[in-house]
């Protein structure tokens, strides 16, 4: 196991790779790792994600060729502006699948199966817009026809946990594990950022054994990134930074404002991002 910085994680990636990103919408996204990709020269990525601002930012940075998802949302703000604009100008390839189909694709990959059958997708236009998707007939007497969801094999998975130890055991303390364990097992290599690296013996001080979602057979590198899910939620360490997310959404919706947002928050490294966010919280409110 290696303890890495976010930039060292990004350096492990290659252009053209298929990257799975854990979390859900604007919840517990590995944003520090995403920001590291924004600083990189990586291009033509295929991103698999229950999409949130991770997807929006990577699209805005020009790092994404294809997106595999069922939605992209900021949760409290329903539509993700960068994703929206990219789609409307035809600037991104999309494999649009149902949420359960994405789950099944990760499950199939994590079990090293070529596909898994499911009912979701039948009758919908998901099959029309993904002509490569096939159905499969049950070999048993029922003969039922089902969608054959192909394995979503990932080159790399990126996830964010509340705690981890230096060996790569990861712990979530919030309400939902999302599908982070599946992303890791669906990937050749998985990198986990976390709010805090603690000694193995301290893991159970924060939560029960069942909160140890990730074990060290599932990941290949761990990075300590306090605030590393910001501005998405990382309960109980912090909730979503709604004020910052609103600022992001406004800037992302306005091509004139976006370069200013980039310059203010994303021009430097992770430490300077966190410092800019801190400054924003402490600066006096200016009323116009």
């Amino acid at each position: 196991m290696t303890v890495l910085t976010p930039d060292e994680v990004a350096a492990e990636l290659r252009s053209g790779m298929t990257i799975g990103i854990g979390g859900w919408g604007s919840r517990r996204k590995p944003m520090a790792l995403v920001r590291a990709i924004l600083r990189s020269e990586l291009r033509d990525l295929t991103v698999v994600s229950y999409g949130g601002p991770d997807v929006g930012l990577l699209i805005a940075g020009g790092h994404v060729r294809r997106l595999v998802t069922g939605f992209v949302t900021l949760d409290s703000i329903p539509l993700e502006p960068h994703f929206r604009m990219a789609r409307q100008r035809g600037g991104i390839e999309l494999t649009e699948v149902d949420e359960q189909m994405l789950h099944w694709g990760l499950l199939a990959a994590s079990h090293r199966l070529p596909f898994l059958p499911l009912r979701a997708g039948l009758g919908s236009d998901v099959l029309r817009v993904n002509p490569e998707l096939r159905t499969v007939r049950s070999p048993y007497p029922d003969g039922e026809e089902l969608v054959a969801m192909p394995a979503l094999r990932l080159d790399v998975a990126l996830i964010h946990m509340n705690r981890a130890d230096p060996a790569g055991n990861g712990q979530y303390l919030g309400p939902d594990p999302y599908f982070d364990d599946l992303y890791c097992l669906a990937a050749e290599r998985a990198f986990m950022s976390c709010e805090r690296i603690v000694p193995t013996a301290s893991l159970l001080e924060s939560g029960p054994p069942q909160s140890l979602l990730i074990n060290r057979a599932m990941v290949h590198g761990v990075a300590e990134t306090p605030g590393g899910a910001h501005f998405t939620s990382c309960a109980p360490d912090y909730e979503r930074d709604e004020a910052f997310q609103a600022r992001y959404a406004v800037a992302a919706s306005d091509p004139d404002a976006w370069p200013r947002f980039l310059a203010e928050y994303l021009a430097g490294d992770e430490a300077s991002y966190q410092e800019a966010v801190r400054r924003l919280r402490t600066e006096p409110v200016v009323t116009q």
């Binding site: 539509l79 994703f83 789609r87 035809g90 359960q100 009912r119 039948l122 029309r128 599908f179």
Partner: protein, 246 residues
């Protein structure tokens, strides 16, 4: 009976009625008025319903925020697969067979307006009962053909054959004007009841396809005094329900 209920309160009761008869299954309302409706249903005639807090916790019936279970997204999907769920989704577009679109408007390859994406609509509609909530009934929503079928309608379901579609069931569509259903011979949308003060002509004018209109369309029921007391006193004392119709 009460003539003093607002349109929003009529809608809450109409949404609640969507879950009438449901036992211990997960009610997944999307939007405020469906959420109030599901909670009202559980407090009154559908006590078995399971309701989440919008994240991963199931909250017990009755006052307070008593946690009765844990339901992360992976288990919501599992309950959907098991059929122990009745969802009430929104719809950006809906056609006469109940095909629903929440994905995008225009040509999917380069949409005029990218919306949410199909989310769980394909899974929901093919696996368990689904209802819809449309806060602004208009020809923009009720269209002859939707641009991207996310939720599966009755014609698509029939095309799959009886076995594949055996769990498909669209129950009701509740709007700010009326309640609609699919209880027609060809499973096209029918006007089921008109909210007080709304005429069949209003609904027909706001619907972009031919709607089945029975000779005698009943009025959507008023919420009872007991229901109004619950809505106003317990479920939505701040009165946010009116804003969803604004």
């Amino acid at each position: 009976m009460s003539g003093t209920a607002t349109r929003a309160e009529v809608c809450v009761a109409a949404c609640a009625d969507a879950w009438r008869g449901d036992s211990a299954i997960l009610a997944s309302p999307m939007g405020l008025i469906p959420t109030l409706g599901a909670r009202l249903a559980r407090l009154t005639f559908a006590p078995g319903l399971l309701l989440s807090d919008g994240q991963a916790y199931l909250l017990a019936r009755g006052p307070g925020q008593v946690l009765e279970g844990w339901l992360p997204f992976r288990d919501v999907l599992r309950l959907a697969g098991a059929g122990r769920r009745h969802v009430m989704m929104g719809a950006s577009q809906l056609d006469r067979f109940g095909n629903q679109n929440i994905s995008c408007i225009g040509d999917w390859r380069q949409p005029r307006a990218q919306l949410l994406g199909v989310r769980g609509a394909p899974c929901n509609t093919i696996n368990h009962p689904t209802s819809y909530w449309v806060p602004r009934h208009s020809p923009r929503v009720f269209v002859p053909a939707v641009d991207m079928v996310s939720g599966v309608g009755y014609d698509r379901a029939a095309g799959l054959g009886p076995r594949a579609a055996r769990f498909h069931e669209l129950r009701v569509v509740v709007t700010n004007l009326a309640v609609l259903d699919f209880q027609t011979a060809d499973r096209t949308m029918r006007l089921r009841s008109l909210h007080p003060g709304v005429t069949a002509g209003d609904v027909i004018a706001a619907t972009g396809f031919p709607l089945a209109v029975p000779d005698d369309v009943p009025a959507t029921r008023w919420p009872t005094e007991g229901e109004l007391a619950l809505i106003r006193g317990q479920l939505d004392p701040a009165g946010l329900r009116c804003q969803e119709l604004a």
